[in-house]
């Protein structure tokens, strides 16, 4: 086709030098490009090296010593397993997620859809502040409120409530974001069909916002899972089977904190500390993979949704 247009193939051929001669200026640019590329790669590696090193460090100490007993037995002295901490972690995170999700979601929807602009602004600011309060401060707050003021002492419920205070801003912020970023055109179209606001929210905005809301819930769970400080003053500690909301409980992060500090003669406890850390890492990785899967699924469904 090209040949038909004119001069023929010879006119297109470059003489060797045209494409091979590299000027000093170009050589300098190429070298700079190489340096920048290595610098970027180095920074990238520096971000992830600690993660992989830590996973390795924990895994080699934890994995070879996993047995069924690690999951089923209760720790007594320098023996037993993590059964109490696993139970406690699931109960605490389950309850705290339920509390944080219900309150955070409703508050987020209110902020995005109903609140006057000034109130929404205050709400968003407060949410950010709450997310930034150190966990230990929230722990003390929970201790005074749920252990002392209520007279409950150390309880699972108090621990879960305190943990939910820490988690709620993450659900709240993402719920607000999720509902605020539903395209205005969708709302207009729903209202033009005669939808009332709650109908718009339930039938149209909710399915659109759900994947983002779930991101917030998963994020809150991952953050809640990693916390020790809000629980040590509220949930107390117990290495026996869990007996109820108003009894104390233990948790995996607590096992790391307590058992890692034990003298070398209690080697089994040190192993339990590493195994607790390993389990937490596995749960957090699983949460993130689940989140990724959900996000992909919904992105496909919402593809083409105009802003």
């Amino acid at each position: 086709m090209i040949r038909d247009r004119g001069a023929g193939p010879t006119a297109l051929a470059a003489d060797g030098a045209e494409l091979a001669a590299v000027s000093p200026r170009l050589r300098h640019r190429l070298r700079l490009d190489g340096i920048v590329r290595w610098a970027l790669l180095g920074a990238f590696a520096a971000v992830f090296f600690p993660l992989f090193d830590m996973i390795y460090w924990v895994s080699v100490r934890a994995v070879p010593k996993f047995t069924l007993a690690t999951f089923t037995e209760y720790q007594v002295g320098n023996a037993g397993g993590l059964a109490a901490m696993i139970e406690g972690t699931f109960v605490l995170i389950g309850l705290a997620t339920a509390f944080a999700t219900s309150i955070g979601l409703i508050a987020g929807i209110y902020t995005a859809e109903y609140a006057p602009p000034a109130v929404a602004r205050i709400g968003r600011l407060a949410g950010n502040v709450l997310a930034g309060i150190p966990a230990i401060v929230i722990g003390y707050f929970g201790y005074f409120l749920f252990a002392l003021y209520t007279g409950w002492g150390y309880t699972t419920l108090g621990g879960a409530l305190t943990l939910s205070v820490l988690m709620v801003p993450f659900v709240y912020r993402t719920a607000d974001l999720a509902f605020s970023s539903v395209p205005a055109s969708q709302r207009e179209a729903a209202l033009a069909l005669g939808a009332r606001r709650h109908q718009y929210l339930r039938r149209l905005a909710w399915p659109i916002a759900l994947p983002t809301v779930l991101t917030g819930v998963f994020l809150a769970m991952a953050i809640g899972l990693g916390e020790t400080a809000p629980l040590v003053y509220t949930a107390g500690w117990s290495n026996t089977p869990w007996t109820g909301l108003f009894s104390p409980t233990s948790f995996l992060t607590g096992a790391i904190w307590l058992f890692y500090e034990q003298p070398p003669t209690l080697g089994a406890l040190l192993t339990l500390a590493f195994q607790a850390a390993f389990l937490l890492i596995v749960i957090v990785v699983a949460l993130n993979l689940g989140l990724q899967w959900l996000a992909d699924r919904y992105r496909r469904r919402l593809r083409g949704l105009g802003a």
Binding site: E188, A192, L193, G194, Q199, L204, P207
Partner: protein, 260 residues
């Protein structure tokens, strides 16, 4: 409601706008606009960008007030009833007076669920719902194209099909009036033509109000056309007459392409 196809010239208007003034904080968007929209016909509204034509139709189904900061005065009557009366529920107004936007706004759900959205708000379901969805798709000329696969995601339809889906969705609420804000502006010429033909067809059953930038489109489908300029209604007449022998100099300049 006579169904013999002959239009009664003396029939009362379905919407009458009287002395409608809409003010934003710093300017007047519409100034003392008065016009009647006939039933079962296509009425065009033309005018340059920013002349207030979109605001005018948005006041006709009480969508304008949602933009906030607008002061609306004057009167808009639907079949003789003041739609801005305090006892009137805007939700019911919007069910009687449907609206289709410039860009097709498809909901991220199936074709069926899109069309069923409005009827479901009113508690319809089962066979009755299915019948109304099929009827609406049929009326919008989409049933033949999408065929039996109504569970397909609506976002997979082409732009033109999406816009006709939006029309079907509006029709499913069984309105009497359909307001369309430049419904073909974002479509390719062939898709635009199909929507246009559909609007012409719909005038048998509905009052259609068509805001358009496209003068030829108004000339083709609208029986009467209103020309708005800077918030004022300059001229409102039979379309043919408005285009061929405009009374106002401004209209003449606009329809002959001297500005706009």
């Amino acid at each position: 409601m006579s169904d013999d196809g002959g239009r009664d010239v003396e029939a009362p208007p379905i919407i009458s706008v009287r002395e409608l003034t809409v003010r934003a904080r710093d300017r007047v968007i519409l100034e003392r606009v008065t016009l009647d929209i006939p039933d079962r016909d296509v009425t065009g509204i033309i005018g340059p960008s920013g002349c207030g034509k979109t605001t005018l139709i948005r006041t006709m189904n009480r969508m304008a007030e949602r933009s906030g900061g607008l002061a609306i005065s004057g009167s808009v009557r639907y079949r003789g009833q003041e739609i801005y009366a305090p006892e009137v529920n805007p939700v019911l107004v919007r069910q009687k007076i449907g609206m289709v936007f410039q860009r097709p706004v498809v909901f991220p759900m199936s074709i069926f669920d899109n069309v069923a959205f409005g009827p479901r708000l009113n508690g319809l379901d089962g066979d009755e719902l299915e019948a109304i969805v099929l009827r609406s798709l049929e009326r919008a000329g989409l049933l033949g194209e999408v065929g039996s696969d109504l569970d397909r995601p609506a976002l997979e339809l082409s732009g033109g099909q999406q816009q006709r889906l939006c029309i079907a969705r509006a029709l499913a609420v069984e309105p009497r009036v359909l307001l369309l804000d430049e419904p073909t502006a974002s479509l390719d010429p062939i898709a635009a033509q199909r929507v246009e033909a559909l609007l012409f067809e719909l005038r048998r059953e509905y009052a259609v109000v068509l805001v358009t930038h496209n003068l030829q489109q108004a000339a083709r489908v609208a029986t009467r056309t209103a020309f708005l300029y800077q918030g004022r209604l300059i001229e409102y007449d039979e379309t043919k007459r408005l285009f061929e022998t405009p009374r106002e100099k401004l209209t003449e300049n606009y329809v002959t392409g001297r500005f706009g």
